[in-house]
């Protein structure tokens, strides 16, 4: 049973527009959430994170929103650039309780079209 779900396998966005990637989780014990970016044949690289005590975290073009009541988070990228084309993984953990291993979703492949 998947605890972290990314229901959109792919997303295409025009360069300069906003990309919105969504993630849902089922385990209410998760309190720390992360987004990773992955290119083929490479390891994931950390993008941005948020703890359950916040509902928004922003870092440059990347903003993550957390809705605890809906068990939903989203990653906004604005403006989107061709170099953002990659697979984006949502991950969750009981981080605030002592950093348990990350649980990942299946990823969303973002294509930014010039």
């Amino acid at each position: 049973d998947q605890q972290v779900k990314q229901n959109s396998p792919s997303l295409s966005v025009q360069e300069g527009r906003i990309s919105i990637l969504n993630c849902d989780y089922t385990n209410s014990m998760f309190d720390y959430f992360l987004w990773y970016k992955k290119y083929p044949a490479e390891g994931p690289t950390f993008l941005i994170s948020i703890s359950s005590i916040k509902d928004k975290n922003e870092d440059g073009r990347f903003t993550v929103f957390l809705n605890k009541s809906a068990k939903h988070l989203s990653l906004h990228i604005v403006p989107s650039q061709p170099g953002d084309s990659a697979v984006y993984f949502c991950a969750a953990s009981r981080g605030l309780a002592g950093n348990t291993p990350l649980v990942f979703g299946k990823g969303t492949r973002l294509s930014v079209i010039a």
Binding site: Y32, A41, E42, G43, S49, F89, G98, N99, V103
Partner: protein, 113 residues
């Protein structure tokens, strides 16, 4: 900048061979992990370690084994490779404490023929 290294990057090997995938980190992290990932699928945790001489199995059943004799080194071994082991193997490490992100190596793409 993360300093975690995996070797080899790519490996093609015959069925029945014993293989060891290497993972080393120079950040002094206590926690290390092995994930397995197939295209279009999530990363599955197969092993983790919270320190020297500590290893645990992850959520995904795996025929591999790991060891943690030194803080910086976390190798994964397959005693007898099979085609079903074909996958990408990703090693990661993280600091202790609250909310620390995991840093990943570049991965090993294993193909068993």
């Amino acid at each position: 900048e993360a300093d975690i290294y995996q070797t080899p990057r790519y490996l093609v090997i015959g069925t029945g061979k014993k293989i060891t995938l290497e993972c080393s980190q120079t950040m002094g992290h206590d926690k290390m992990y092995w994930y397995q990932q197939d295209p279009g699928m999530e990363l599955h945790l197969i092993h983790y370690s919270y320190g020297v001489n500590s290893t645990e199995k992850g959520d995904l059943s795996s025929e591999s084994t790991v060891s943690r004799i030194r803080t910086e080194h976390f190798p994964l071994t397959l005693e007898s490779a099979r085609p079903s082991h074909t996958s990408q193997y990703l090693c990661a490490s993280s600091t202790p404490g609250q909310g620390a992100e995991a840093f990943f190596g570049q991965g090993t793409r294993l193909t068993v023929v």
